[in-house]
């Protein structure tokens, strides 16, 4: 039986509960309390930032800025959602903001008529390192949409809101990302990923 990795309570994901007393101390501005929380979520936040931005230097910045916001806005956390979810939201927002500022103008534009590929999915055979390499070779928007949809569980509507784009943007980026992942994971069909700027057309 497959066990969803996110259902395993490890210190490397956001599936962790935080002691309300610790949150209260954080809300009072106790740096020591925040360090405990930071240590617990550092890897999860870093990994999420890295998956969304695709670059270690940007992920480092996202980690710093989102954690800084977590400390400064801790009083805004009202407890109506798990603290980890609130923190994760900060990381996602910060990562997407970085992408918007830096590189998200490089978005693939393509028609929305991608054929459904019924062939066996190569990611079922690929090892984690290969999947990760392929993921990092995706264009920024496609990678972020793919991750938000499949791993963070966002809907297309939510992704569209986050990007300030339409739902069809989210759907088409997901379809393109899936297609590229398939191409990148099939050794005999290795294709270089070359993002195009907005306004250009890419036919598939």
């Amino acid at each position: 039986m497959l066990v969803h990795p996110c259902s395993v309570d490890t210190p490397t994901n956001f599936q962790q509960t935080v002691d309300p007393d610790l949150i209260a101390r954080l809300q009072r501005g106790e740096l020591a309390a925040f360090e405990l929380i930071y240590r617990r979520f550092e890897r999860a936040a870093w990994t999420l930032a890295l998956r969304l931005t695709g670059r270690a230097d940007v992920a480092q910045e996202v980690l710093q800025d989102s954690m800084l916001k977590a400390f400064e806005r801790a009083r805004q956390y009202r407890g109506d959602a798990p603290f980890a979810a609130w923190l994760r939201k900060l990381v996602v927002n910060e990562a997407l903001m970085q992408l918007r500022h830096d590189r998200l103008h490089v978005i693939e534009v393509f028609d929305d008529t991608l054929a459904v590929d019924e062939s066996p999915a190569p990611w079922m055979q690929a090892d984690a390192a290969t999947v990760e390499r392929a993921l990092h070779r995706l264009p920024d928007a496609a990678r972020a949409v793919l991750w938000l949809y499949h791993v963070e569980g966002y809907t297309h509507v939510e992704i569209a809101e986050q990007f300030g784009r339409s739902v069809s943007f989210s759907k088409s980026q997901l379809a393109r990302a899936t297609k590229r992942m398939r191409e990148l994971l099939q050794p005999q069909l290795q294709v270089e990923v070359t993002p195009c700027t907005i306004g250009s057309t890419t036919t598939s």
């Binding site: 979810a85 900060l90 793919l146 499949h150």
Partner: protein, 200 residues
């Protein structure tokens, strides 16, 4: 608001179940977590401490800035009259006798005020946020002008000129002080453009 820690993907009606896509999700979620190459906590803690200090400084300096602003507003009409150099002092003013000559206690008051402004500026300079390049250039220019006024003060013999110079010195100190407050004013006025994305 959004919270998917339970990962109830299949309950999402907008999701069409495709075994291949579902497998991609499983493969992505199975990727191992990684850690940053270096411990980011020391830098983060340092940033937090610096911002706490800056925030405290804002709370300390905002009332002072308000007072300075009020003083500047009240003094504005007087500050912008043309500086009267000794050579161009209207004869009529001199001829009118002692009426235009500021009393000695007025000069003493200006001098005391100047000292207070200077102490305030020095405190801001020591405890305030760092200035950017442009502000630093302006600060140096103000300091140069204050030095020039000091030079003129040391040579001034006419009480009226002396009073004007002390007034100029105070104005320059006020402007220098406001310059030191600019980083805080910018920080407090900056709109939180991404707040709408963070509410839960």
């Amino acid at each position: 608001m959004h919270d998917r820690l339970d990962h109830d993907f299949m309950n999402d009606e907008s999701r069409q179940y495709d075994p291949n896509e579902a497998a991609l999700g499983v493969a992505l979620r199975a990727l191992p977590a990684s850690a940053p190459a270096r411990d980011a906590w020391p830098e983060l803690a340092s940033r937090i401490r610096r911002r706490n200090v800056a925030r405290k400084a804002v709370w300390f300096t905002l009332p002072a800035a308000f007072a300075a602003g009020m003083a500047l507003t009240l003094a504005w009409p007087h500050l912008h009259r043309p500086a009267v150099s000794p050579a161009f002092t209207p004869v009529a003013t001199q001829a009118s006798g002692h009426a235009a000559t500021p009393p000695a206690n007025n000069i003493d008051a200006l001098q005391a005020s100047s000292q207070q402004w200077q102490a305030w500026v020095q405190k801001l300079d020591r405890n305030g946020a760092p200035l950017d390049g442009r502000q630093l250039t302006q600060a140096v220019a103000f300091q140069d002008r204050i030095g020039l006024v000091d030079l003129q003060l040391s040579a001034a013999r006419n009480p009226s000129t002396t009073a004007d110079l002390w007034q100029q010195r105070i104005t320059l100190l006020q402007q220098l002080g406001l310059l030191h407050l600019q980083p805080y004013l910018v920080a407090t006025q900056r709109p939180a453009s991404n707040d709408h994305l963070i509410s839960m």
